[in-house]
Symmetry: C2
Subunit: 381 residues, 2 copies
């Protein structure tokens, strides 16, 4: 395994660094445009960020969205998307797209899937049809979708896991990473490797060294998404980042809360995705300050204030908490739409704030304020 | 009953007339702005046109929306809406609003309501609580909501109905109209009378004469909404309009298909409302030409064309039938949003086309083309 120089599908440049932490700003040039990092990527599972049109996303300043290989493979099918001009054209989104590999989604099927060396056998959640998702097929799908960034197909692991089980899974992911890389032939699509290894520091190091040895356009940390705990997640990030190259973007998959992102940026992460802002919006949880409010709470019945004081999003600029509560309790879809606008704005705005703080040498101070505010919010819960 | 001169809550001016038909264009000045008629009013039952933000509505050129007294009375409550600054402010809509009286909604409750001379007793569809909606309460609610146009509280009738039953109901509606008018005290809110009388020509005349004798700011024709049949509806319109004053706006309630509106305009109608464009959108029926397509149809699976060739709406300008079909079959809310944008655009654009045709002396020709195109579409069904 010899390192391979980055192909032209991606060019990463670090533009400024924090002097206190490993935080950095940069640009990632991709086929459909340039990202400013650190960046948050809203999740558009089935070829749409739920409740937002591409116009809404552009207004919100979204730079890139995520598409899900598993879902788009099953419906409408990657070949159809390709025939219709690729995922960008299909969903009328002209900025970059990152596709996941489907590994996490098939893992999430639980009883409906079976992992073998060849790949993962699973039954479709749509119609029960049987499929075998392999590294080669995952790459074929992602190439057909035409995303700017494809991810290698890896095995996800159920926690808690035995060390031996974690090691075997990590090693299989390495074999699948090699197969993914070998299958990848699209010159204008970047390919990211994924570091696995659970919560075993030495296995993370082994995985990171092997993955970086194979040479990818960027490096992701997998297996620490929401639900595994803030401190454990940060521990993994802290012990993995030093083994990743300085001159490639680093992507922490499936993370997280705003405070998680601040702390991960401080440890050198450049890219994030998470369903939390969109999913929370649809269930009535709205981000405000460093906390969350449940909009259906009766105390908002006559509340004329915005969801978040000082927020510049369309929702906060026009609608009261009382109105959003009314829409939510009435089951009106506009409620889910306006909530989504606010939560996605909250996330994207946090990333803008983080980038400015790093550029202007204030990130260390910002991080301390965030930690204090978050601690206070948490104690109010 | 002496005619009363129109108060300052509404000023209507006819601007141009068709030489072949009773069609006319005009303006209706209201507290929150001026309407250009003929006008279509999207329905915003619970303080939101389902799936559209006020920004979307403004982009689509909506001039006025409808709010439902019954729904807003039950949830969130008219007193709360008043406390929060009125319905315009609550829903962040700064253009005119018309509120219905709740008469049709309580009628639609079927077994859950009982009509008495005092009003209609009913059980809430939300929580089963018991209420008595009277003309006085309906007006109180509409005044609290602060709409530009309030409607008198009338009795709606189940068809088919005996002539005697129709007469008794029409007469009760006249008594309720007087009570509504007596209860109305808001000087910047227009009040419309409603002509009832079912499908009995002479009862329609009796009702029209009595209602116009009471003197209202505008006159509606009730009891002929969607489902009663195109020809029967037009017959009622044709035999009622001559008994309504030339110098007041005429509103055909709950109508209808595009062709219904063309023919009603030809008979002198100025205002329309209907749930069809928004409801159809959510169930996947999209207006195209003079017909409708069912977007979930398998024949659209790989269809790269827009819903409607030549349509200038956001949906048609950006998304293929294949994508809209994908969103619909995947249950994605963006599908309902984009479908609603198209259907509402289709209706509002038809009204723009009608107004231009009347102004430019082409309405007779336009109407004949529409009738021919609709006949051809219907035979293709």
């Amino acid at each position: 395994m010899t390192p391979v120089s980055a192909p032209s599908a991606l060019a990463f440049r670090v533009e400024s660094r924090c002097t206190e932490t490993a935080a950095r700003t940069g640009t990632v040039e991709l086929a459909h445009g340039t990202l400013r990092t650190p960046v948050f990527m809203p999740v558009g599972t089935q070829g749409t960020v739920k409740g937002l049109s591409p116009r809404d996303l552009t207004d919100l300043g979204a730079q890139i969205v995520l598409g899900n290989t598993y879902h788009l493979y099953l419906r409408p099918g990657h070949e159809l998307v390709k025939q219709l001009g690729g995922l960008n054209r299909f969903m009328a989104w002209d900025r970059p797209i990152l596709t996941d590999s489907g590994g996490y989604q098939v893992f999430s099927l639980g009883e409906l899937r079976k992992v073998e060396e060849e790949g993962v056998r699973f039954a479709s959640h749509v119609d029960g049809s049987r499929h075998l998702l392999t590294p080669e097929l995952s790459i074929e799908i992602q190439q057909a979708l035409g995303s700017d960034i494809a991810m290698i197909f890896d095995e996800c692991l159920q926690y808690p896991a035995e060390r031996e089980q974690t090691r075997r899974s990590m090693e299989r992911s390495l074999r699948w990473a090699e197969r993914s890389k070998a299958a990848h032939t699209k010159p204008d699509q970047a390919l990211f490797g994924i570091v696995q290894g659970g919560f075993e520091d030495d296995l993370r190091v082994t995985s990171a060294c092997a993955i970086t040895g194979m040479g990818f356009d960027g490096y992701a940390i997998g297996g620490v998404s929401v639900g595994e705990g803030h401190q454990r997640m940060l521990h993994v990030v802290e012990h993995t980042v030093p083994w990743l190259p300085e001159d490639s973007p680093r992507y922490l998959m499936g993370v997280g809360l705003p405070i998680d992102m601040v702390e991960a940026v401080a440890r050198g992460i450049d890219m994030f995705d998470c369903v939390m802002p969109t999913r929370h919006a649809r269930t009535g949880y709205l981000f405000s300050g460093w906390g969350r409010v449940n909009i259906k709470n009766a105390r908002f019945r006559a509340d004329q204030g915005p969801v978040e004081e000082g927020c510049t999003c369309y929702t906060c600029g026009n609608f009261s908490r009382a109105y959003l509560r009314h829409l939510f309790v009435s089951g009106e879809m506009l409620g889910r739409q306006l909530n989504t606008v606010h939560n996605v704005h909250h996330y994207l705005n946090l990333m803008r704030t983080i980038r400015a703080a790093i550029r202007e040498g204030r990130f260390g101070a910002f991080r301390r304020e965030a930690a204090a505010a978050w601690k206070e919010e948490s104690s109010n819960d």
